[in-house]
Symmetry: C2
Subunit: 107 residues, 2 copies
DNA sequence: ACAATGCTTTAGTCTATACTAAAATGTTTG
DNA sequence: CAAACATTTTAGTATAGACTAAAGCATTGT
């Protein structure tokens, strides 16, 4: 059920997942943010997709990827702690504040 | 703070950790339970120890290893789910029952 | 139709590391 | 002290898989 650890242990793969954990990004966008060739990124994305860990939405010639968070099970929180660390708390506060602002706008 | 995923992703290493997650075992014991040579197991144990993920207690010629659970941080629960799965719940119940029995004995 | 764009696929190289077999280290027993 | 035992260390090999460069495949624009 949980993804094989070895599968997501590789740093580049984690970096990719981190980038698309919270929002969709195009393959090109991702490739730009990661210090390997576009080809390599595409291969990782393909593997992650095959494993059900990311989802793809095609739109014209753009390919939009996003993490399939539910597929990570108990690993999700661990990864989030690794990637977003203690900031998680701060982040939740910021998001709550943003929601407050949004609510204020619509009122 | 959390251990590098790649470090514990390897199946043999996980098997070793799983064996010493809940109780100490001797190097020989561990090696017997794992389908590689004693030497290979010893190497893994050495690496895990160097990384602070297991602790060693020497007693004569025996070397007793145990997982240093706290060192795994948020990864601990994820590993437990991987290794002990939904059984975790059942297991906790069984342990509670055992404690009940133990209490009954001492009364 | 052709070129440009966004991405994937293929073929091949290179490196990290898990592993084995054997020698070495340290400890207990007779 | 020698032999047996428990484990570690060393040296060397083999393999997985991350990566690159280049070719291939769709889609859009002119």
């Amino acid at each position: 059920m949980l993804p094989d650890l070895a599968f997501i242990a590789q740093p580049t793969r984690q970096q990719i997942l981190r980038l698309i954990w919270e929002s969709e990004r195009s393959a090109g966008d991702i490739a730009e943010a990661v210090p390997v060739t576009f080809g390599a990124v595409s291969q990782h994305l393909g593997a992650l997709r095959k494993a059900g860990l990311v989802r793809l939405r095609r739109e014209g010639r753009m390919h939009w990827y996003a993490a399939e968070r539910e597929a990570f099970g108990a690993l999700g929180p661990a990864l989030e702690e690794m990637w977003f660390g203690k900031l998680g708390e701060l982040k939740r506060l910021a998001e709550a504040e943003q929601r407050r602002i949004d609510r204020a706008k619509t009122n």
